[in-house]
């Protein structure tokens, strides 16, 4: 059956599910079925500034088996603790013995279903409500593989963990899924990179859930460099336990279309979160980001910072949401968003919003957008530096304060490389 037409028919979609996912526990098979129905039923998510109808996503044969394609290579950072998945197949995985002995689990999600089924069943879907959105339902029904990371109580993982999700040009539907659980008082640093090879159009729907239990600390990094032919929907969500924290460092550079969201739920007292988003739009990219902090319990804090560079005919929409519910006394919620405009054809929309239902809080946001400082450019050119180089230096100066605050060295380096690539072309 034609996988394109199958997308409209629940019975056909179910059939595809059964073909593809065999020997899974009953609870998982039932979950996939339920979400597959939700996928077919839901209309395209309405996003006011990102019209999805004209992108003709329904023409992408997402359920076709991957066609053979050239292998994908990328510069290997030589990370000691790592997991690499290509087209949903585990290619390489390593965790030092000391960590395995302490009970740390670094597995592909498909493996984790066998090895740690209770943990997966307990936490999968506990932070993201996949039924509420078409592309989340798609990921929930059809995720091929992804990361499962579990850190036991009071365990400090001193080595950063690097995960790669890659798709070759032959994969039209790419659905990576991540589940990270940091048990009480644990600490871990983990970063994910998303890559795909350019080719025919593909649809990517990615989901990452992070659960930081009481007193835990998760430093999460993500760098996305998907091909321009990738139509991408990405959702990341974290739930922060009592006195725990999740820090996000996100670099978004690829995808012809990107609808991305990261959300932190602070529903236990003392929870903290910070997020740093760096985005760079070029060519005809359309990037629609949302960064959200939801404050439910007392004495929680959030600090969301974003810096973006827009050139060529790119368009970005950045929505920041600091949502403070009644009872969230003592909240400190801040947002700061800045965009550097490098071309007359680019467009940036910013909607930093504060939704406050509790008096005893401090909430502030600021947003600004503007061109590169012309006097700085002239000064540099006067020192013999060509204009393109001068602009490069200014972009560096603009992004440095945020990129340099990424704690993980290898992620920092990768982000700078991605920025350089975007500046050049």
């Amino acid at each position: 059956m034609n996988s394109v037409t199958a997308q409209k028919n629940p019975a056909d979609v179910r059939h595809l599910l059964e073909q593809r996912f065999r020997d899974e526990p009953l609870w998982l098979a039932a979950r996939r079925r339920e979400l597959a129905e939700a996928y077919v039923e839901h209309p395209l998510p309405p996003r006011q500034r990102t019209p999805l109808k004209n992108r003709k996503l329904e023409q992408i044969p997402i359920f076709d088996a991957p066609a053979s394609a050239a292998p994908l290579t990328w510069r290997d950072a030589g990370d000691e603790a790592h997991l690499r998945l290509v087209d949903g197949v585990e290619e390489s995985r390593h965790l030092p013995a000391t960590l395995t002995e302490q009970g740390v689990l670094l597995l592909s999600l498909a493996e984790a279903i066998r090895i740690a089924p209770q943990l997966v069943e307990q936490y999968l879907g506990s932070v993201i409500d996949e039924r509420s959105d078409k592309f989340q339902a798609l990921n929930g029904a059809f995720w091929q593989n992804g990361l499962f990371l579990y850190v036991p109580p009071r365990t400090e993982v001193t080595l950063p963990i690097a995960v790669t999700h890659a798709a070759t040009a032959g994969l039209a539907g790419f659905f990576p899924r991540t589940l990270i659980i940091a048990d009480r008082q644990s600490r871990v640093v983990v970063s994910e990179r998303y890559l795909s090879a350019p080719g025919e159009r593909s649809l990517v729907s990615a989901a990452t859930e992070i659960i930081a239990l009481d007193g835990a600390s998760v430093q999460y990094g993500s760098i996305q460099q998907l091909a321009p032919s990738a139509e991408t929907f990405s959702r990341r969500a974290g739930r922060v336990g009592r006195d725990a924290r999740i820090d996000w460092n996100i670099g978004e550079f690829g995808g012809g279309l990107l609808v991305a969201e990261h959300q932190t739920i602070l529903d236990q007292p003392g929870g903290q979160t910070s997020s740093l988003t760096v985005f760079f739009g070029g060519h005809h990219q359309h990037q629609d980001y949302t960064a959200e902090s939801r404050h439910v319990a007392p004495h929680t804090g959030s600090n969301m910072v974003a810096r973006g560079v827009m050139k060529d005919h790119a368009r970005s929409v950045f929505t920041g949401v600091t949502d403070i519910k009644p009872g969230a006394v003592g909240t400190d919620g801040r947002q700061k968003e800045q965009t550097l405009m490098l071309s007359p054809h680019a467009r940036a929309d910013a909607i930093p919003s504060l939704l406050i239902e509790e008096r005893d809080v401090y909430a502030a946001h600021s947003a600004s957008a503007g061109p590169a400082d012309r006097s700085a450019i002239f000064y540099l050119m006067g020192r013999g530096i060509p204009e393109t180089e001068a602009i490069r230096l200014i972009v560096h100066g603009f992004l440095a304060p945020v990129i340099d605050s990424i704690p993980l060295q290898s992620l920092r380096d990768e982000v700078w490389e991605a920025v350089e690539r975007k500046i050049r072309g």
């Binding site: 005893d360 809080v361 502030a364 600021s366």
Partner: protein, 465 residues
């Protein structure tokens, strides 16, 4: 005479009050309602056509899917027109006690009270009004009500009316376009600068406070005007929907300031479309105070169409129990070197809700344009809420935009400092609130500022705890 059918062409001219007395406007809105309004006002055919077209648009348009909750609005349960000389039989005894108490507390003079309560259609300040009129006439300034302007200055009127806010703009602009009545018409000739504010307050007509006011202001090149309307006393209204439209044109090098302070009674839905266009090196300033009402939705806008144009919105919103102020500003930069400034201060108390909803748009040709928006909200108690949702759209690489917002409660330290110097907690809070809104009150004409202070004092009673 009374046997002639009402809806015949003969009634287009030469109505007399006796016939009107027979005519009773039912609740609800039909084509006939609109035709009658136009007939009573003896309007030219083009205005009737305009109204009827707007009525069609109103019926076709859906309710807005954003903003405050407008579900309780029942369009069939509203009277859309009241002839001003008709007293509706309301007496002072009919006025609710709460309103009477407010007038007492605010020290509103007896004569004013009757006017504000809709008991009297005339505000007895004729002497003052007439002397202002003389000054204006000497300068060539036209300041009259919209109905009279249509009759007396048809060419200028027709040239500008409906050009800034067409009926299609939104459902409530369409409604206003169909049933508008009252409002002001101001025309300031080239080079003329008014040295006194034009106060709608002094015009003798209860239609000033009408439900569907329509105001049109034209400031020719190099002119200057300051228009003031509203008052800080609560406006008692039996009809719960008030939907006004204000269109302002500010031509090259001219400057216009429009000051409003409105305090609607708590049953009122106040939905206003206010928009100005500013041409080359022109300046438009909206000074907007919104207090009370059940729901206010109002986003004064300036379209900066000429190089070097400047726009400013300075607004405060005070929202109390069961109230929602959904207000903001829209600045559209469609020319180079344009500047906009927005300063919005909101106070939520007793469970009220304030929302700042604004837009700054830099079009492709808005080279070297600059915008600065600052929104601050003060939450006075645990029940009150606030949302700040600013939109910015940047299509020009050389424009600069800055936006900042904070939401806070009254600071404990500041309170402690003042109470330790002998002020009661209530007085201390009041001082802090006055300081919070000072950038706004500083810009008001004196008598407004005085009333504003009294009003805040009154509104804040019971705000603590």
């Amino acid at each position: 005479m009374a046997t002639k059918p009402f809806v015949s062409d003969e009634y287009q001219y030469g109505f007399n009050d006796g016939d009107v007395g027979v005519l009773k406007f039912q609740r609800g809105l039909t084509r006939t309602t609109v035709e009658n309004i136009s007939r009573i006002k003896q309007e030219p055919p083009w205005m009737l056509d305009f109204r009827l077209h707007a009525l069609d648009v109103f019926w076709k348009k859906p309710m807005p899917g954003w903003g405050a909750n407008l579900k309780p609005l029942n369009f069939d349960d509203i009277v859309y027109y009241v002839k001003p000389s008709e007293n509706q039989g309301r007496t002072w005894e009919d006025v609710p006690q709460a309103i009477k108490d407010t007038f007492e507390r605010l020290g509103i003079p007896e004569a004013e009270r009757k006017f504000l309560a809709g008991v009297s259609a005339q505000y007895e300040s004729e002497v003052v009004y007439h002397s202002i009129r003389r000054d204006l006439q000497e300068k060539g300034i036209i300041f009259t009500d919209t109905d009279s302007a249509l009759r007396e200055y048809p060419e200028i009127f027709r040239e500008y009316f409906g050009t800034i806010i067409p009926p299609e703009d939104n459902k409530f602009a369409a409604l206003n376009s169909a049933v508008w009545s009252g409002g002001s018409f101001v025309y300031i000739p080239k080079g003329v600068k008014t040295d006194i504010p034009l106060q709608a307050y002094f015009r003798i007509n209860s239609e000033n406070m009408g439900q569907f006011e329509r105001t049109l202001i034209i400031a020719e090149d190099d002119s200057f005007g300051h228009y003031v309307e509203g008052c800080t006393a609560p406006i008692y209204a039996s009809e719960s929907l008030h939907s006004a439209v204000v269109e302002i044109i500010v031509k090259d090098n001219a400057r216009m300031r429009y000051t409003t302070v409105q305090n609607w009674a708590p049953n009122v839905y106040n939905l206003v479309t206010k928009r100005a266009v500013a041409y080359q090196n022109a300046t438009m300033e909206w000074v907007d105070g919104n207090i009370g009402s059940k729901v206010t939705m109002k986003y004064p806008a300036v379209y900066l169409l000429g190089e070097g144009a400047k726009g400013m919105v300075l607004s405060i919103a005070v929202s109390g129990k069961g109230q929602h102020q959904d207000t903001g500003a829209k600045m559209i930069h469609a020319a180079p070197n344009t500047t906009s400034t927005v300063l919005s201060k909101s106070i939520s108390q007793h469970g009220g809700k304030t929302t700042y909803r604004g837009l700054v748009h830099f079009a492709k040709n808005a080279d070297a344009a600059k915008s600065n928006v600052k929104c601050d909200t003060l939450l006075l108690d645990d029940l009150s809420t606030s949302d700040t949702i600013p939109y910015s759209e940047v299509e020009n690489a050389n424009a600069e935009m800055e936006h900042e917002a904070t939401v806070t409660r009254v600071s404990e330290e500041a309170l402690f400092y003042l109470t330790s110097r002998g002020l009661s907690e209530e007085e201390a809070t009041r001082m802090i609130v006055m300081g919070f809104i000072e950038p706004f009150t500083r810009e008001l004409p004196m008598e407004f500022a005085v009333e504003m202070n009294r009003l805040i004092k009154f509104e804040m009673e019971g705000a603590i705890g």
